[in-house]
């Protein structure tokens, strides 16, 4: 076994390693120098597209066809997307974090290919991109920034609902090179762009474009470290500058001494910058230390979060800083406990007693040594060394009295998954850190997208992850490509997926429908347990009434409404009504929304359904909303007519006719009396008339509308009191014997209005009350003598005494007298 340090290189005081991942990656005929090559983050797929600006030899019609090819890191062709040149020339290719391929063309159209498939979602960058063209794009995890022909920058923050936003406008001179700081790592938390224009640099965000006043330019390359903490610039005179992320501090400068400008400059993790020429790489570490690598053929740099993939026709290598744990264990002459532990473990294998000596030596820091070995195993690509390290850890562990083995167990599981994914047929050479960042769920998703169902299922089972997505993906694939007859496909899918939790048959059915297998889609959809899920597809399949029924079944009014809106647009009115007629919930929803928005629809609905009362009410409501009386009366007439044949609504009809009558009266009153009447009720009209002294008119209204006598009396009383017509009230008291509502209300209301004198007039008329109540009434009016007399008349001594207690002055004397009389009368 070769030493693990064999591929290490020392740059300054740090070690870097060049891990060979795969060999014989591409066909040797493939002229990699003529291709744009981009790699998805986390060691994902590699997309290559022939650079159309480069002339190349003709190889027959087949090869001349333009394609975007997606390869695994090991050079296995996963997908080939035909690109007909009619779609426009490709200006940028890039990947998102979740392995969506993003293709931007010159005319500002962006196509997003999800799940490594051939189907895409297009959107336009807008902001004039179709006229000025797209120059280039820079991508980050969840979005990208496009540089347009007029130097304007358009940012797209997500692909789910892309909303291209224009950033602040930089000067219009030629952009030499540019880079972006992703929103997650910028100070402002939104994307920032660094543009090299002329000799200086501009930073651009949503609101400002700042000149940073550099004069060392023009900068040929700009590269931002994966976490945005450092920036690297390549100057025209062959120097590499590394500055801090906020551009305040220059950290190092390296002179490459090469006249040709490198083809590419990328960060390798966050510690080193790699310069790439055609077949040469310079790796510049901290403090300007550097080393050079030479290759046999043209190479491409594919940066990742913790390192750099280097891709040539026959090699795929991973260049990264050697992790600290690995350095601790393997560095020549390392005196770290972990190194001793590994040594001890080897000695143990050789049955050497020295093993124990070594263990005793590192005894105090043994736990730390075990941890280091476990971590180092994670960073190791070579299975032999992984095993050796884990064995060492296990040995160390056994010596310790107390050790939490969770990390060890986790690491064993993780390594098993990693090794499976790194296998050349799969070609996902994830580093340990990448795997942790990617998460196992995403790994499974990536495997599923590569149609590696078995491995995906195994890993899911091994790590206890849900498997529904894998099954659905498999079934969708089956539906798309299987040549079996539809029935057997359906049977096969149902048999395989029956009883599997979380499987969405709707998604499978949609795939079938998109493939044109409508019958299969319908059949599959029947297995979908969620009614709501079925609705959109059913609508697409033009199964409108079934969709409506399913929506109603789901109980989700939003869905029902959605279907209804769809139907309303599609169907003629009559058939629309026929559809909703038998479905009360649908009718109710149509009614309630139409009431706010579309009264005409409602009218038609009521007419069609012969709902006379509702129709008439609708007209009444319209009558109410008219601003003048003429149209109101017309509407009322219509409302009344609406009900004319319906016997059960005669009451309603009379009321409507009365309303019209009332309005006409009120209109006359308004003209005659120039006071507002319209809008008042019958009672209010009478009230106002009496208050203003138009008693004749009030009487007339009252008799016309058959206002009950009691009500009329109340109205009169209230109106007179509110107008303070005291004389008239006194007149009533003296002229009328009986009141339909008794005299008490007269007393109460007048008293409330504060006129005790008039109020007292009514007291003697309240003959139905007890003396005590009358005494109370007198007292309320402040007429204590009268109260005393009342009590005296009733010969109620206690009552009289009460009155006395309340009284004072002459009244008291008077009452005392009455009391005396009562007293003497008794005895």
């Amino acid at each position: 076994m070769s030493k693990p340090t064999a591929n290490w290189v020392k740059v300054g005081d740090k070690f870097y390693r060049k891990q060979q991942l795969y060999t014989a990656v591409f066909d040797t005929d493939l002229e990699l120098e003529n291709y744009t090559v981009v790699g998805a983050p986390y060691s994902g797929a590699v997309a290559i597209h022939r650079d159309e600006s480069v002339i190349q030899s003709y190889r027959g019609a087949q090869a001349a066809k333009s394609t975007i090819d997606i390869y695994s890191c090991a050079g296995k062709l996963i997908r080939s997307i035909n690109w007909d040149t009619g779609k426009g020339s490709i200006k940028a290719l890039g990947w998102s974090e979740d392995e969506k391929l993003v293709v931007a063309t010159e005319d500002g159209t962006v196509r997003v290919y999800a799940d490594l498939g051939v189907d895409f979602e297009p959107f336009s960058l807008g902001h004039g991109s179709e006229d000025v063209g797209v120059q280039s794009c820079k991508f980050y995890g969840s979005g990208f920034v496009a540089l347009l022909g007029n130097n304007q920058l358009v940012s797209v923050a997500n692909y789910h609902e892309p909303r291209p936003k224009l950033l602040a406008i930089p000067p219009s001179e030629e952009v030499v090179s540019w880079g972006i700081i992703p929103p997650a790592y910028s100070l402002s938390r939104s994307v920032e762009v660094i543009l090299a224009i002329g000799k200086t640099l501009y930073t651009v965000d949503a609101t400002d474009a700042d000149d940073r006043n550099f004069d060392a330019g023009p900068f040929r390359h700009i590269s931002v470290s994966p976490r945005g903490e450092f920036l690297a610039f390549y100057t025209d005179d062959g120097k590499v500058w590394v500055v801090s992320g906020d551009m305040t501090e220059k950290l190092s400068e390296y002179n490459s001494g090469v006249k040709t400008v490198p083809k590419d400059m990328q960060w390798c993790g966050s510690n080193a910058v790699a310069l790439a020429w055609e077949d040469e790489v310079h790796l510049i570490g901290p403090k300007s230390a550097a080393t050079k690598f030479y290759y046999d053929s043209f190479l491409h740099l594919l940066p990742d979060m913790d390192g750099l993939r280097i891709l040539t026709n026959d090699l795929c290598e991973y260049l990264q800083k050697v992790p600290d744990e690995t350095v601790d264990v393997f560095r020549l002459g390392s005196d770290k406990p972990a190194a001793h532990l590994l040594e001890a473990s080897t000695l143990l294998d050789q049955k050497s007693p020295k093993a124990d000596d070594l263990i005793q030596l590192i005894r105090p820091s043994l736990a730390e040594a075990v941890d280091t070995c476990v971590k180092a195993a994670g960073h190791e690509y070579n299975i032999h060394w992984q095993k050796a390290l884990l064995k060492a850890a296990s040995f160390g562990k056994s010596v310790l009295d107390l050790y939490n083995s969770d990390d060890f167990v986790d690491m064993c599981e993780t390594l098993r998954v990693l090794n499976a994914a790194r296998f050349y047929e799969i070609g996902l050479p994830l580093s340990y850190d990448q795997f942790k960042r990617l998460t196992p769920e995403k790994l499974v998703e990536r495997l599923t997208n590569r149609n590696e169902y078995l491995l995906a299922l195994r890993i899911s089972g091994y790590l206890h992850l849900p498997t529904d997505k894998i099954h659905v993906h498999w079934a969708q694939q089956k539906v798309r490509i299987s040549t079996d007859d539809e029935e057997s496909i359906c049977r096969l899918i149902v048999k395989k997926l029956a009883g599997k939790a979380g499987v969405s048959f709707e998604e499978i059915a949609r795939a079938a429908y998109d493939e044109g297998r409508v019958r299969l889609a319908t059949e599959l959809l029947n297995y979908e347990p969620r009614a709501g899920k079925q609705v959109p597809l059913l609508l697409d399949m033009k199964e409108d009434t079934i969709a409506l029924d399913k929506a109603i079944e789901s109980g989700d009014t939003d869905l029902i409404f959605h279907v209804l809106l769809h139907l309303r647009k599609k169907l003629p009115l009559a058939s629309f009504f026929r559809v909703i007629n038998s479905r009360p919930v649908a009718t109710a929803l149509v009614e309630s929304s139409a009431w706010d928005q579309d009264r005409d629809l409602l009218k038609d609905l009521y007419y069609q359904d012969d709902r006379r009362l509702d129709g008439s009410n609708l007209l009444l409501s319209e009558a109410l909303s008219q601003s003048s009386i003429g149209p109101s009366l017309d509407k009322l007439k219509l409302a009344s007519k609406y009900l004319q044949d319906a016997k059960e609504h005669t009451f309603q009809r009379t009321q409507l006719d009365d309303t019209a009558k009332l309005l006409r009266h009120q209109d006359t009153f308004e003209k005659e009396l120039s006071a507002p009447f319209i809008g008042l009720s019958v009672n209010e009209t009478i009230f106002n008339l009496i208050r203003e002294g138009h008693n004749k008119r009030a009487q007339k209204v009252s008799s016309e509308f058959k206002v009950p006598e009691k009500t009329y009396t109340w109205l009169r009383l209230r109106a007179l009191v509110s107008a303070r017509h005291w004389t008239e009230l006194e007149g009533i008291a003296s002229s009328t014997k009986k009141s339909p509502i008794g005299w008490e209300p007269f007393f109460n209301l007048v008293l409330e209005a504060g006129n005790t004198r008039v109020a007292s007039v009514f007291i003697p008329k309240c003959t139905s009350l007890t003396p005590a109540e009358r005494v109370e009434m007198w007292t309320k009016c402040g007429l204590l003598v009268k109260a005393g007399e009342e009590a005296f008349k009733a010969k109620d001594r206690a009552l009289l005494q009460d009155v006395r207690d309340k009284s004072s002055g002459s009244a008291a004397v008077e009452i005392e007298r009455l009391l005396g009389m009562l007293g003497s009368g008794r005895r």
């Binding site: 909303r163 402002s188 939104s190 849900p466 529904d468 997505k469 939790a501 979380g502 499987v503 347990p529 969620r530 789901s554 109980g555 009014t557 939003d558 869905l559 409404f561 959605h562 809106l565 919930v585 109710a588 929803l589 309630s592 929304s593 009431w595 706010d596 928005q597 009362l613 009410n617 009444l620 409501s621 009558a623 109410l624 909303s625 009386i629 109101s632 059960e648 609504h649 009451f651 309603q652 009321q655 409507l656 009365d658 309303t659 009332l662 309005l663 507002p676 319209i678 809008g679 008042l680 009720s681 019958v682 009672n683 209010e684 009230f687 009691k710 009500t711 109340w714 209230r718 509502i741």
Partner: protein
């Protein structure tokens, strides 16, 4: 300690708060917030305005006012997305701003509680979908108190009963489903009412859908679908089952505050002449309070208020006096002299709390005085008299004269309608002739526009002629109307020996009438007590637990026969394995720690809340029926009579 109790109010508010702040954080920089008026209350309960400011909110606006200005680049709409009307109004405002403003704005729309396909569709048609970044704020339950969770759906009543729009049922199901996913299935769902049944069906359906749903998006919820070991059951009552309770005037303190001043989201607005014009509390979202009105937070956690709120108003005066005396005795000046230094220090440290208490005492005394004014009014007495007579079973025609008089005296329309509806709903409708007389009287007194009001009331089933609708349909089928006569006896909804000061039965909340809705709940969770109440044990010595009436669901079954709407009883069992796993995880529980969830579909009154709290208190007592010690009250919102009939009242006028 037992694991966290299910449907925990503070947990729910905390989550809603965090969700909103996260959304706000997603919009960089300062922003103007446009919100629907109905959301202002819940928002105020969950997040202080100062916190919103910390998260960059500059000025709040109401959607209804359509007056958001151009002062900030970012404009956020916080609105409910269920109704097409609001969606269209959002679209219109975005268009207006885009047209009139000099600068380019960034629009965000936070739909509450979910983003709907219809909203997307409508925004797209209006051409603004691409302009705004759209997200959702999943605000379902808003905790009003530790044991009261409200969906705060103000339209629920009119939607459900007038327009027959089941949106609120679906949202309720969603809200309950979220709780089930968190705490496990309700082991039993039982209840009364057609809409309630629909809700129960939806819950069962959603459960199977969640099982089938994409498990990956819900996280590790496979355990969540086993019956909960901490929840006893879910009781659902449809408001339609018991309209009379809402129509009656509430007689508890909190109920009367609601009747007189109107409480919304624990906040009430009182004329400053009553409570003194102190500076408004900081941190209120409603900035537009006029100088005359003052907003007061009804704080459920405040000590004094929590003793007052559920008491019958008749004894509130006494309670206030007692509190005043206690406060005086502990802060009285003459006592200070006699204190040692240690006592003094203790006293000083308590001073802030005394101050707070005395402020609260002052507030409630003024409120109570104002309410007394209201309850002493002739109109209040008259209408209360009618209510009491109708509920105790007097012949309703004897009350007609009083109602006619009230109409002639032009008392506010809602008061009259409440009385009329009360008669109709308790007597399975009114006689055709009487009904027409009253209809005429109402129209003549309040205006012809109320033809529509009366028509709406009929649709809601609040005001009908006997024997079904006026459409001349056949006589009412059994189960479509509630018959109160047998109920007065079989579950004793009228209590002649009511004791308001030391209540021994829920009838205290209405001074005689025991709300039917709560009686139904009692017949399930407090069977023994109810049985003994209906039919006191003949042998005083016999164990109180042995009343034969209390067996099974006898009372419930007996009663529901006479009550309108469907009855249902659903047991939700899970896979045996999952149950075992759950009980292993949570440890075993005795029944006493379980939570009973009561859901009022279509709203609950404050009086009913008081009654339920009373039951909850009894259950907790030693020797109570240990089926559960905690009742959590959930509802689509808080209702009262004015709101119920108000949703039917036509507001337009001629001219």
């Amino acid at each position: 300690m037992a694991p966290i109790s299910p449907l925990n109010a503070s947990e729910i508010s905390e989550k809603a708060r965090r969700d909103l702040l996260l959304l706000l954080e997603g919009v960089r920089g300062k922003k103007n917030l446009v919100l629907e008026k109905t959301l202002a209350g819940p928002l105020n309960l969950l997040v202080k305005f100062s916190t919103l400011q910390e998260y960059g909110v500059d000025k709040p606006f109401f959607l209804e006012n359509d007056n958001v200005d151009f002062s900030q680049r970012n404009i956020i709409f916080l609105v409910r997305g269920e109704k097409a009307k609001t969606v269209i109004s959002v679209a219109k405002q975005i268009k207006r701003i885009r047209r009139d403003s000099q600068i380019e704005h960034e629009f965000s729309i936070f739909w509450v509680p979910r983003r709907t396909t219809v909203s997307d569709q409508l925004l797209e048609e209006a051409g603004v979908l691409g302009e705004a970044s759209v997200s959702e704020w999943p605000l379902f339950f808003v905790p009003l108190a530790d044991d009261v969770l409200s969906l705060e759906l103000d339209d629920a009543v009119s939607d459900l009963y007038l327009r027959k729009d089941p949106t609120s049922i679906y949202l309720s199901a969603k809200a309950l489903m979220l709780q089930q996913q968190r705490y496990g299935l309700f082991p039993r769902i039982i209840g009364k009412g057609d809409n309630a049944k629909r809700l129960a069906e939806l819950l069962v359906k959603m459960r199977s859908e969640v099982t089938a749903g994409d498990s990956s998006s819900n996280g590790p919820s496979f355990l969540g679908l086993a019956p909960s070991s901490t929840i006893d059951s879910l009781l659902i009552v449809d408001r339609e089952v018991d309209f009379p309770t809402v129509l009656l005037t509430q007689l508890t303190y909190e109920g009367l505050i609601d009747e007189v001043f109107d409480i919304s989201a624990n906040q009430t607005e009182v004329d400053s002449s009553i409570v003194g014009g102190a500076a408004p509390q900081p941190g209120q979202t409603g900035s537009a309070s006029t100088s005359m009105k003052r907003k007061i937070m009804i704080e459920p956690k405040e000590e004094l208020y929590s003793t007052l709120r559920d008491s019958n108003f008749a004894i509130v005066g006494n309670l206030l006096n007692k509190a005043a005396r206690r406060l005086q005795s502990s802060t009285g000046r003459d006592q200070l002299a006699t204190k040692t230094t240690a006592e003094l220090r203790d006293f000083v440290s308590k001073l802030p709390s005394y101050q707070q208490e005395s402020a609260s005492l002052k507030l409630h005394t003024s409120l109570a005085e104002e309410i007394i004014k209201f309850t002493r009014s002739d109109i209040f007495m008259r209408s209360l008299e009618v209510q009491q007579n109708v509920m105790s079973g007097a012949d309703p025609t004897t009350q007609h004269e009083t109602i006619t008089e009230l109409i002639s005296r032009n008392v506010p329309l809602p008061t009259v309608i409440r009385l009329l509806c009360l008669e109709s709903t308790t007597n399975a409708g009114m006689r055709q002739k009487d009904l027409e007389t009253f209809k005429r009287a109402v129209i003549q007194a309040y205006g012809p526009q109320h033809l529509l009001t009366l028509s709406s009331l009929e649709k809601m089933g609040l005001l009908q002629s006997r024997g079904g609708t006026t459409l001349g349909g056949p006589a009412a089928k059994p189960g479509t109307v509630t018959n109160y006569t047998p109920l007065r006896r079989s579950i004793k909804i009228w209590d002649d020996e009511v004791n308001e000061s030391e209540p021994n039965d829920i009838s205290y909340v209405f001074s005689g009438y025991a709300p039917l809705s709560v009686r139904l709940i009692q017949s399930i969770i407090q069977k023994q007590t109810l049985a003994n109440l209906i039919k006191p044990s003949t042998h005083p010595g016999a164990s109180a637990q042995a009343n034969p009436l209390a067996q099974g669901l006898r009372i419930f079954d007996d009663a529901t026969k006479y009550v309108k709407g469907a009855t249902f009883d659903e047991i939700q069992a899970g896979e045996e394995k999952a149950i075992k796993a759950r009980s292993m995880l949570n440890g075993s529980h005795n029944d006493a720690n379980k939570t009973i969830v009561v859901f009022f579909l279509g709203g609950i009154t404050r009086a009913e809340i008081a009654a339920l709290r009373f039951i909850s208190g009894k259950l907790k007592e030693v020797g109570g029926e240990g089926r559960g010690s905690r009742i959590v009250i959930c509802s689509t919102g808080i209702v009262k009579g004015e709101g119920l009939v108000g949703s039917a009242i036509e507001k337009a006028k001629f001219g």
